[in-house]
Amino acid sequence: MNSIPQTPLRTAILVAASATTLAACSKEPPEELPPPPAPVEAPAETTAQPSGPVVGSQQHFENAVGSSTTIYFDTDRFNIDSSDAAALQEQAQYFAQFPQLTFTIEGHADERGTREYNLALGERRANAAKNYLVSLGVGTDRIRTISYGKERPVALASNEAAWAQNRRAASVIIN
């Protein structure tokens, strides 16, 4: 996919380079005004080239779907509620747009469960998100799941607000 938008740019650079080479080789002053500069289009193309995150990066994914990279769960639950479904639909659209991407869903739990159970719970949450994405048409072989249980919290306090942020399944682009 990357090569397609680059084709006109490469052509433009090639033309410009040729013109420059020709000009450099020409010892004598030109009898006519130089032809309309082909490179004029090139700078426009260059600036059009995205300077931000590229497809295949987590940042590109986040820019496209916003906070929908991550879905959240109730205590001890792993069901996909309506807000989770909306977020996963955004993810599914993104992954439909970029079918070459593979990604990992990381399942997490809050600290208010025992360590081993939470590893299993995180795995179940990651699989719930995966199954929903597969039902929306994302190929199952594009999705890897991993559970971190309660070992990798994002919110560090020990209160309901922090625990709610930590009960999550986060989609992460694999490069």
């Binding site: 001890d76 792993f78 025992t114 360590r115 299993a120 795995e123 990651a126 995966k130 559970s147």
Partner: protein
């Protein structure tokens, strides 16, 4: 219905290069092990009488506070020894200090150590100077000696006397390499403990656990081992991969634990002698919650397949994996009864974590916990009479119950006390306590009365303690 498949290459030949070990996040192997040689010690007059003492304690009511005097162990002549830079006389004092600390730390005894007692001569070890001990309020007197042999090995003798009876109760001796001098002190502690309580001992044992460092969101978790009193501490993994939930094999030759070393949570069987490890089962699914059978011949583990976690069993030698549970819920953990006939495990098939018992072949699964709150991480006592577990009722508390789920007793009251495991004698429970907000954690021990609780010192924060059996 039981599903079976085959584990590939369990304990297959392992690569032995150091670079390979590094990529597995493994440190230098311990390369330790072996038994302590028991030796005869000189008799002190009459043979010790057989049988228990009148104050032997076998119930769970308050233990008697038995006063025990433990003066420095004597030496026949002060000799240099690799075990102590100052020679065998100083070593004898250290041995007595180790014994004093052991006996003090479980709340059953009132030990008085060598730093506040007169030092007996070598000759007095077998003929105590009764007059100088009867006035000190100690019912029991420990004497001992340390002798360095020509081959550098140490002979340590240990004698227990009843001061009022002016009689010897028990005596034993051990031959140890200098590096193992603490083991002789632990053997002596075990001898005293067993004789005075009527219980099986536990001091000469090791603990595997997870050492934790770093901030709450970037915690480094390493596999570590230490003696039961915290000495001889070693890290077994380097910390680049998260390690969790270790379990010593019954013969101390291996440790099973969970590692993220290949990016996924999987159980490895680490060989202590060689420092090499193998996957418990060659499979792309996450494997969790490793447990040994009491005879060390089988491994229980849990595996998540398409998000559904069930309990499986595989022979240590590899081969056929047997699925023991098949409910849609999370079935995890699992701890054998001491005779290997039954397994207690946790399941949320009822909607919340509760504890269940099944036969070792997976048949006859039945819920045993019906009190308020949830039941997690059940561990069957090595004596068979109790199951310890994490009770979740708001906070996490270490609790015990009968194997039929009755006689619930809550032993601790921390904010988050989790993952109890048993001392080899089934009298003391070890667990980890996590602090609210900071996430810092430490190892704690509590006895079955719940009254004697103490923190086990570790060099850094710690979790997931797992006691090995008494050493040979």
């Amino acid at each position: 219905m039981k599903t079976t498949f085959f584990a590939l290459s369990l304990f297959a030949a392992a690569c032995s290069s150091a670079a390979f070990a590094q990529s597995e996040d493994l440190g230098e192997p311990l390369g330790e092990g072996g038994t302590v040689e028991t030796t005869g010690v000189e008799a002190s007059g009459e043979q010790a009488e057989e049988g228990g003492l009148t104050f032997t304690v076998t119930d769970e009511s308050d233990w008697a506070d038995i006063g025990v005097a433990i003066p420095a162990f004597a030496t026949d002549r002060d000799q240099p020894t690799p075990a102590n830079a100052s020679g065998t006389e100083a070593l004898g004092r250290e041995v007595a200090r180790v014994i004093t600390a052991n006996l003090r730390n479980n709340g059953l005894f009132k030990p008085v150590g060598p730093d506040s007692l007169p030092q007996p001569s070598f000759g007095q070890i077998t003929a105590p100077s009764w007059g100088s001990w009867s006035g000190r309020g100690a019912e029991m007197l420990v004497h001992g000696y340390v002798r360095a042999r020509d081959d550098n090995r140490l002979v340590v003798g240990c004698y227990l006397y009843d001061v009022a009876l002016q009689d010897e109760l028990v005596r034993e001796g051990w031959v140890v390499p200098p590096a193992d001098w603490r083991r002789a002190a632990h053997k002596c502690s075990d001898l005293i403990y067993a004789r005075l309580t009527g219980e099986n001992p536990f001091f000469d044992s090791r603990i595997a656990y997870i050492a934790e460092t770093g901030p709450k969101d970037k915690r480094v978790k390493r596999l570590a081992v230490m003696d039961s009193d915290g000495a001889n501490h070693r890290f077994l993994t380097l910390g680049s991969a998260t390690a969790l939930t270790p379990r010593y094999s019954p013969d101390y030759s291996k440790i099973m634990y969970l590692s993220y070393v290949d990016g996924n949570p999987r159980i490895y069987v680490y060989d202590i002698g060689s420092g090499q490890q193998q996957l418990v089962t060659e499979n792309s699914n996450p494997t969790l919650a490793p447990r040994w059978s009491p005879d060390g011949r089988h491994i229980l583990f849990s595996m998540a397949v398409a998000g559904n976690t069930d309990i499986y069993r595989v022979p240590v030698t590899g081969g056929q994996v047997t699925r023991l549970t098949d409910t849609p819920g999370i079935d995890i953990g699992g701890s054998y009864s001491p005779d290997g006939s039954r397994i207690v495990f946790e399941s949320d098939r009822s909607g919340s974590q509760q504890c269940y018992v099944m036969n070792a072949d997976g048949s006859n699964q039945r819920r045993i916990t019906f009190f308020g709150g949830r039941c997690a991480t059940p561990e069957w006592s090595p004596r068979g009479d109790q199951i310890a577990f994490t009770r979740i009722a708001g906070d996490f508390n270490v609790s015990v119950m009968s194997p039929n789920g009755r006689n619930l007793r809550v032993l601790t009251n921390g904010w988050q006390d989790e993952a109890p495991t048993w001392a080899p004698n089934g009298r003391i429970i070890q667990f980890f306590r996590t602090e609210r907000n900071t996430g810092r954690s430490g190892l704690w021990q509590v006895d079955l009365t719940g009254r004697n609780e103490r923190r086990l010192p570790t060099p850094v924060d710690a979790s997931d303690p797992a006691w090995g059996p008494i050493r040979p």
